[in-house]
């Protein structure tokens, strides 16, 4: 089917299926649920960053009139974590607290005021321990251990991998450069605070309504922690008012709401305050990075060595995956024939870090793209010349065994360079004005599930009604990215009906087929594919019934505009509903299921579970900035961004995701920092944690490049995360172009810019950033041979192979 044959797919349709409800206030978020006899839960949190719990006395709290239940860690003793390895969290701390804000006890009461008053009556005796607040402190204090299950000190995870022969690669280089960078941690800041309502009914059935991106994983974690068969637990993800990765873990308030409901027999709601959202966190890891790259005179990379030192906060969360992600995707944008990656994640006494839009890849992407900008300058190349000839090629393998399918990074790069007039501006604008360029790549869904299994990653069931309406059942959660709209449009496209005749039942583990969740940019790709499979099955049955009725071959039929047509005889058509009735008469009740399982992508080495994806999206961006040399103020004037989306199922939705990514990236590069003082979060509020408003948002020119991925639904790839990646280094590179100061540390605040200008005025090195990396002896790397397919695209590598 040619692209132009689609009626809905590819068209800019402004009507999101969730739009009207959200703008009129009809949408019911978790905190809008008020079941009869509702109790209100609240969590008591640790005021210490690191302390032993000597005892907890809840008697006075339990005796307060209106209090219905009080629980502590002893009531929920089983551990959990999103990843099967390192099950190191408890719903309520046991024996020890590891960050300010860690939940210690929970209360259910008749109203919030009583619950709050009860928290003040809980007596906890702590023995404070010295806190560990940074990567350097974590490594310097191996005996001051935050956990004891990890092998050494406060080291959570160490990774050392080598692909190809890095030493030989550096020996071949004409030029080698080393740089260090620091990316400060930041948080997701969703508009909706986390909230959950649990109800345990007398028949022992448990329902949890929760603002979560991963109802399936919450379902599994609840069963494990509560020791209840998962068949008795139903998790319903309520419409999520912004997630960005911050609602992807199972959380204390979810377990506590369920436990409190089990104890009281009444529904219990826990809605976090804004301050508590900062403690729940799971946001961007602070990462200290070192990168060494060898290049030929023309910019071709001969070898790269990358080290990341990752501040994980108090628990593992997704941290094992994060660690690998800081090293995984460097090779997916530029051809790197020899690559060594060493990564280290440490525990610190801060709220746990986790996945935030781009999960572990924005930090290395920032480092790599600024590093390349410096190498280009050193070699006398411009930022396009150093990238353009060495971009990843479609249908190739990377040195670290990642399979690239469609790839239009070259078109993305050309598009932003042309539209922004980058080459006419770069190094040519007046002092204070500058342009910067960067490229990136991201996954369209993780190739492997979080827990090992061979089942599909996404499933869709469709049920047809005699009225001609279709009900879609799918476990996917719409967190604002538009996945519900994609499901409705996909099914409507395949069946040739109006999307308004499609109803959606989503994200309900009691009813809908499993979808693994809204993370890793996987939903449109995987649930979209599952929906196509299911819809085509149904269409086949409708066509069979109609073909039989008309006495013509089914292959002559088409579904469009709410009717079934015979292509051979345009006078013949019947309404969709009539076709449904004929098919139901022929086959019985009509339903169909489809599912999607990614192809086997895992390589043959340990650690290859992180990075593979059925397809990669590509992005290039140019930022133009104005830097006020007196105040250090950086104003982003415009961002040009080109994104290889594969196929834009709905350009409006795609542009919305890209603009949102640009906005979030600008917050990270210029303002946002999750920082601590005296062990406590410095400003856990939306007023003082600075994140841009739309007054700070520059014009964004979005260019969609369609490379039609063979694996994606209609050729589509992801848009939700990848476009964030190049914006951060593009701004840093633009600031350098504007004032000649290298900001090797983000956020780029006015005081840092001013400091850099002062250094420059004094004739010193105009750079702000880390001076070095901690002395840490990584183990010898696991050496992995380059994949066979690699040779196809890098012929000169052949000569080096033994």
């Amino acid at each position: 089917m040619a692209a132009d044959d689609y009626t809905l797919i590819g068209r800019p349709i402004p009507a999101r299926v969730d739009g009207a409800g959200k703008v009129t206030g009809l949408t019911r978020y978790a905190d809008d649920l008020f079941p009869a006899r509702l109790l209100y839960g609240k969590l008591l949190r640790s005021p210490y960053p690191h302390a032993r719990i000597l005892r907890i006395d809840t008697c006075k709290a339990a005796a307060l009139p209106g209090v219905k239940a009080v629980i502590t860690g002893a009531d929920l003793p089983r551990p959990f974590s999103i990843m099967p390895v390192n099950q190191d969290e408890h719903a309520l701390a046991i024996d020890k607290v590891r960050y300010v804000g860690e939940p210690v006890a929970a209360v259910a009461a008749v109203d919030e005021e009583t619950a709050e008053a009860a928290l003040h009556l809980i007596e906890v005796a702590y023995e404070p321990l010295p806190p560990v607040m940074s990567i350097e402190e974590a490594l310097a204090q191996p005996d001051n251990r935050i956990h004891t299950y990890n092998r050494v000190g406060n080291v959570h995870r160490v990774v050392a991998l080598e692909f190809g022969d890095v030493e030989a690669g550096f020996a071949e280089a004409d030029y080698i450069r080393e740089d260090t960078f620091f990316f400060q941690g930041n948080t997701h800041l969703p508009m909706e605070q986390h909230a959950a309502v649990a109800h345990c009914t007398p028949d022992g059935q448990i329902t949890l309504w929760s603002a979560t991106q991963t109802p399936h994983y919450v379902h599994r974690a609840l069963a494990a922690v509560l020791d209840i068969p998962p068949s008795r637990i139903r998790v319903i993800a309520t419409p999520v008012g912004g997630g960005f990765g911050g609602k992807s873990d199972p959380f204390a308030h979810e377990f506590c709401a369920v436990k409190l409901s089990m104890l009281t027999g009444r529904p219990v709601k826990i809605c976090l305050t804004r301050e508590e959202v900062f403690y729940a966190h799971r946001g961007r890891h602070p990462v200290l990075m070192w990168i060494r790259t060898g290049v030929k005179r023309n910019g071709a990379i001969t070898a790269m060595h990358f080290k990341s030192f990752i501040d994980g906060g108090a628990y593992s969360s997704y941290g094992v995956a994060t660690t690998y992600y800081t090293g995984a995707l460097q090779t997916v944008t530029y051809r790197v024939p020899n690559y060594r990656f060493e990564g280290l994640r440490v525990f610190t006494n801060k709220p746990p870090c986790g996945p935030k839009r781009g999960h572990g890849t924005p930090q290395p992407r920032y480092a790599l793209e600024v590093h390349l900008d410096k190498i280009a300058e050193d070699l006398g190349l411009d930022p396009v010349q150093i990238r353009r000839p060495h971009l990843a090629k479609p249908f190739s393998m990377t040195v670290n065994h990642l399979r690239i399918t469609s790839c239009a990074l070259d078109e993305c790069l050309d598009a932003v360079v042309k539209r922004s007039e980058f080459l006419q501006k770069h190094r040519r604008l007046p002092f204070g004005k500058g342009v910067g360029l960067a490229c990136s790549a991201y996954l369209s869904g993780a190739g492997l599930p979080i827990y090992w299994n061979e089942m599909p990653h996404s499933g869709v069931t469709l049920q047809l009604d005699r009225s001609g309406s279709v009900c879609v059942f799918c476990g996917a959660v719409d967190i604002g990215q538009g996945s519900d709209s994609v499901l409705a449009f996909t099914v409507a496209e395949e069946l040739g009906i109006d999307p308004r005749d499609v109803r959606l039942v989503t994200a309900d583990t009691g009813i809908t087929p499993v979808d693994l969740g809204s993370y890793s940019s996987r939903v449109t790709f995987m649930a979209g594919n599952a929906a196509i499979v299911a819809a085509r099955q149904l269409r086949e049955r409708l066509f069979a019934a109609v073909a039989e009725h008309w006495g013509i071959p089914a292959r002559h039929l088409r579904a469009a505009q709410g009717r079934i047509f015979a292509v051979t005889d345009p006078s013949r058509s019947m309404p969709f509903a009539e076709a449904v009735q004929r098919a139901e008469a022929k086959f019985g009740t009509l339903s169909a299921s489809g599912s999607y399982t990614p192809p086997p992508l895992a390589g043959k080495y340990k650690g290859h579970g992180v990075g593979p994806s059925p397809a990669y999206s590509y992005t290039a961006a140019v930022a133009q900035v104005d830097v006020d040399p007196d105040t250090g103020w950086v104003t982003v004037e415009k961002v040009w961004i080109a994104h290889d989306i594969g196929k834009a199922l709905n350009p409006y939705l795609v542009e919305g995701q890209i603009e949102g990514s640009v906005y979030m990236a600008l917050g990270e590069v210029l303002m946002e920092e999750q920082v601590f003082r005296r062990g406590v979060h410095k400003f856990p509020s939306m007023l003082e944690y600075k994140s841009p408003t739309f007054l700070e948002m520059p014009e964004v020119e979005t260019i969609l490049i369609e490379s039609l991925d063979p694996e994606g639904p209609y050729g589509a790839k992801e848009a939700g995360q990848g476009p964030l990646l190049p914006v951060i280094p593009a701004v840093a590179n633009a600031v350098y172009d504007a004032i000649g100061v290298r900001l090797d540390e983000i956020p780029i605040t006015p005081e840092k810019v001013l400091k850099g200008l002062e250094l420059r005025a004094k004739g010193q090195v105009a750079r702000l950033g880390p001076r070095g990396i901690p002395a840490f002896a990584f183990p010898p790397p696991r050496c992995v041979e380059v994949p066979e397919e690699w040779l196809v695209h890098l012929p000169d590598a052949k000569t080096r192979r033994p």
């Binding site: 040399p629 303002m671 007054l695 006015p750």
Partner: protein
């Protein structure tokens, strides 16, 4: 969500009744509330737990604005910041006041918040503007529930920051304020309302109500307000620069007043800087000298957004820029 502590809301019908209701209670037990945009969030975080709130919102005696640049202006303290910033006589005759009022927080909060409330705004500090729980985790502070100033741990005073946008402008315009209390009415220069102390930052009895602001005639004055903050909305100032100047036909400055916000616990009049302008033409040399003089007394500390060294540097830059702008000169290109 954070809940308000329990309190009784009293709705007086007259100003006199409001004063009486406040006077009947010991200090701290009753507080006046107008827009509530500062007080209610603070109550949720337990900076204040009054038993009674005396509502000023419906008192017609506080809701007026008359006069113009020629006669001077009288503003009822209950006028909202939106009303002040959009009023034609304010915009025309006192543009810096319209600017300052229009830069407070967000449109929604300006629709509720009043000019009187903005002048009486509680001083701010990022060790203080936190929840009770957070302050408990840090060990409380001098301004509320504790005995240490975490900004300057050796200090016996509190260094919370005067964060009003309208106060520096009204200081530069030599406004007077009228307070009504149990002993009757008194009028004082706005400068005399403030004390450079983060805790006792107002010279005002607990039962006294700020009722009106009187601004002298401003015909022929050049004035400006510049606000430094990270974002174009929401944020309190990390620096406010208010300037009022009169220039003779030959360009000589015959009258000059500069006031700074957010650099101390009170809005500061930069008198030394003003003296350097007075009697001189606003040449770049004079402007730079005045900016340097304004910069010296500013003593920001590490308790708001942006670092203190940066904020102090910015006093000089923004005072100079404001003066260049009012003098009709282009600021010199930096570096």
């Amino acid at each position: 969500m954070l809940r308000l502590p329990p309190f009784t809301y009293l709705q007086p019908r007259t100003l006199g009744e409001a004063v009486r209701l406040l006077a009947e209670q010991p200090p701290g037990e009753a507080m006046a509330v107008a827009g509530g945009t500062d007080l209610y969030p603070n109550m949720k975080r337990r900076q204040f737990e009054p038993k009674y709130l005396v509502g000023l919102r419906r008192l017609p005696e506080l809701r007026f604005l008359h006069g113009d640049a020629r006669q001077g202006l009288t503003i009822g303290a209950g006028m909202t910041l939106t009303e002040v910033s959009t009023h034609p006589q304010v915009r025309q005759g006192y543009p810096a006041l319209a600017t300052a009022a229009g830069l407070v927080s967000t449109p929604q909060l300006r629709n509720m918040g009043t000019i009187g409330g903005n002048l009486c705004l509680d001083t701010r500090c990022n060790y203080y503007n936190q929840t009770y729980w957070w302050r408990q985790a840090i060990g409380f502070c001098l301004k509320k529930d504790g005995d240490t100033c975490w900004v300057a741990p050796g200090s016996r005073r509190c260094w919370a920051v005067a964060s009003s946008d309208t106060a520096p402008v009204l200081l530069a315009l030599q406004a007077q304020v009228t307070l009504l209390g149990p002993q009757g009415e008194r009028t004082l220069p706005l400068a005399a309302l403030y004390r450079d102390d983060g805790i006792a930052y107002l010279n005002k009895g607990h039962a006294e109500i700020l009722t009106r602001i009187t601004v002298p005639p401003a015909e022929g004055l050049r004035m400006a307000y510049v606000k430094l903050r990270r974002r174009g909305a929401f944020d309190f100032p990390v620096l406010g620069v208010a300037v009022a100047l009169r220039l003779a036909d030959d360009g000589t400055c015959t009258e000059a007043r500069l006031a700074l916000g957010a650099v101390a616990s009170a809005p500061l009049l930069a008198t030394e800087a003003a003296a350097l302008l007075q009697g001189n033409r606003l040449t770049p040399e004079v402007i730079e000298a005045a900016a340097a003089a304004a910069f010296r007394p500013a003593r920001p500390l590490d308790n708001t957004d942006l670092t203190l060294a940066y904020r102090k540097k910015m006093v000089r830059v923004h005072v100079a820029r404001t003066l260049y702008q009012l003098a009709g000169l282009a600021a010199p290109a930096a570096l």
